[in-house]
Symmetry: C2
Subunit: 428 residues, 2 copies
């Protein structure tokens, strides 16, 4: 049987993992596909650099176009990152009828719809399981496992860096800045951590999940995003005291075809299965109308988990080639995206207020809540005699995002409220 020939773009940690897995699992892969897999060419920026892996020099090249246009290469695996040149490479590969496997969430979040369309036009496959929650096969689960159900909610911890930071802050009572520094030293956070800590990475993944789960073409600009850089030690301590864990959650909801997608730090009740997902682990909770709550848990990143997902996609693409069904994945984005407005998005909220410590303040505040029809689940007041202030914590019942926003605007005009220290969504 003719082997399946692969061109690999990128030989960083994930690329190295791909080479290792393909080498170590030759027999298993051949048994599943019916053909051997050969990595024919690898694109690197410097062919002379010393590497952790021995690769024949003849396979290395710094010319991506040579690999994209190589007549014998069937599948392009893209693990180099970036969205500009990379997009050009992938578009050209798909147009040439080559199949593409990518781990690039930025690319798929930005251009996924366009790339899927080009692939379909040219009978090519594009698979991207590794772009979300590295070691968890969540995308194929959404497409195949939930094909007969209606998914109403996808909620996930989809960024390992921020989950590591929040877990450490919770377990050690440490500050955000200290834990971030430690995470950077350990290589869990990048020198410029913005994309992770401001929630952008999670937002990109939620876009990919929402598109597949809800069959729509939701875009990155449709996501409401808030990161963790303003989370304080105090917030985490209050969460703990009240029986919650503070997690950066991506939440996508779909009711009667109206969608909302957001990423924000959220208080999650301890009894909720997602509350115990700690460290760099990821988890995605999918609620189906019929199936109820299901959860998928595993390593979100790392060389081997991500490379394993990439090679699983390579197996799927190779099987499709052998079966002659490449590019025949039925396009699932068949619904128009209608976004919910802020008065249609509701959840419980946690509010931490610093107020003047005098009689009647709590009554004033609860009156304001009543005006906006926000009802209370619990209230906690704690005096701080040294500064003549008090802290009030409110956990509301379900309230609309719009009502909470109006309430917060109103609070700004109230003398007795010195500041709104924190506002978090609450789950469970």
């Amino acid at each position: 049987m003719k082997p399946i020939k692969v061109g690999l773009l990128g030989l960083g940690t994930v690329g190295t993992g791909v080479v290792r897995i393909v080498e170590n699992h030759q027999d298993d892969l051949k048994n599943q596909i019916g053909s051997a897999i050969e990595i024919e060419k690898i694109v690197v920026s410097n062919v002379n650099k010393a590497r952790n892996i021995s690769v024949a020099a003849s396979k290395l090249t710094d010319d991506a176009w040579e690999v994209i246009r190589h007549p014998e290469i069937d599948v392009i695996i893209e693990v180099m990152g970036g969205t500009t040149a990379t997009k050009e490479y992938i578009v050209e590969a798909l147009k040439l009828g080559k199949h593409v496997v990518t781990a690039n969430k930025d690319l798929m979040a930005l251009y996924g719809g366009e790339l899927l369309e080009i692939a379909q036009q040219h009978g090519s496959d594009i698979y991207y399981e590794a772009s979300v929650a590295g070691g968890i096969p969540i995308l194929r689960t959404l497409v195949d496992g939930f094909s007969s159900d209606r998914i109403t909610k996808i909620m996930g911890i989809v960024n390992g860096t921020t989950n590591y930071i929040l877990t450490k802050m919770t377990q050690e009572g440490a500050s955000y800045a200290d834990v971030l520094k430690e995470a950077q030293q350990l290589g869990y956070a990048e020198a410029d951590p913005t994309s992770d800590v401001e929630g952008l990475d999670a937002a990109r993944k939620m876009v990919i999940l929402a598109r597949l789960g809800f069959h729509t073409s939701v875009d990155l600009q449709d996501v409401s995003v808030q990161g963790i850089s303003n989370v304080t030690k105090e917030d985490i301590q209050y969460a703990k005291r009240l029986g919650y864990q503070l997690k950066l959650l991506g939440i996508a909801q779909c009711d009667e075809n109206q969608i909302s997608v957001s990423v924000q730090p959220t208080m999650v009740k301890n009894s909720h299965p997602i509350a115990s997902v700690n460290g760099v682990f990821n988890a995605v909770l999918v609620t189906g109308e019929a199936v109820g709550e299901t959860m998928f848990y595993g390593a979100g990143a790392g060389e081997l988990p991500t490379a394993t997902s990439v090679v699983a996609d390579l197996v799927a693409v190779s099987k499709n080639m052998k079966l002659g069904i490449s590019g025949k994945r039925i396009n699932s984005a068949f619904k128009q995206t209608v976004l919910k407005t802020d008065d249609q998005i509701s959840s419980k909220y946690f509010l931490l207020l610093e107020v003047a410590d005098r009689a009647g303040v709590l009554a004033q505040i609860t009156q304001e809540l009543a005006k906006y029809e926000i009802s209370l689940e619990s209230v906690l007041q704690q005096a701080n005699p040294s500064s003549n202030t008090a802290e009030i914590i409110v956990i509301t019942h379900d309230a609309s995002k719009a009502a909470i926003q109006s309430l917060l605007d109103r609070f700004k005009g109230m003398d007795v409220i010195h500041q709104v220290k924190s506002v978090y969504r609450v789950e469970g």
Copy 2:
């Protein structure tokens, strides 16, 4: 487009769910498949019985063969249960080139290999996702999601009835007999609960999981099975005190192609993700060499979750028909089954002994452990002055099943040990 025509065997709770889902999701299903789905005929034992669902009388029949041989029916969905007549129906359907979706774990555990072979010979598909962990798409995850990894361990809570019973015993301190009675009244346990409580149902599911995960043809008689009917209140209380939950776990392991599969009540450390899976929920933890630990959690049974899995398989089978790739699933049982012997199976163990309450007994016991090279993780001794006895709890480090068996045999010959009250495997 010509619709896909389905013959449904059985109209109990799952069958009713299938009819409802196919009706309610017509548009979504058509969008995914490119053809409508029509349930053409339904086999019931009594066509005149009153039902919860309105079905045209012309669709009902009590003659299964009429449906199996119906020339226009493309897919047979089997949700009637049983393994004798049912097997004949399915074999005939496959031979006629019809595709089969079944939720029947007993059938698949007993005859899965044979049925898959017949299907392959006749270009037919047989899908059986709903046979294991109803609402969790675990079988397709094992086949597709882990195609590039080597699975070393599959551990699961795959029986909802026993998990419900153990959860209740833990939360309420109730006895096995009392909770079983309550579960029977609530419909969570059958009038004859043997198959669930003695671990047979879980064993069948573990056979199906092990076959797919390890690419072998492991059989039901290869599984070591122990149920929960001997679990006492006291065992559960000790587990709680020591920071464990007692769970009925299916554990399948594969090292260097040597396999062991077992089902037994197991002490699971509280910090382990599977320890917090409670009530009728199921969870399957899959460890991949590269991916590490992943967990899949959801409803294990129930009309709608199970029916959803069945219809997801129907979607997969229908897509295969449209793509012209029916019966082309590459057979994954390509490895010979080599079972581990008892001296190759190791884990930690929990032992609860009733001993004579006098000096030197603990020393005697620990000497015996040392003889069999079993080392200790912890020991707890507690006197019971009223009977002049004491209880000793031992948690061992990893020890082979054979060594533990020899130790228990030795204990029988020791006067100071009145009885070995409990022996459990320990995880985490």
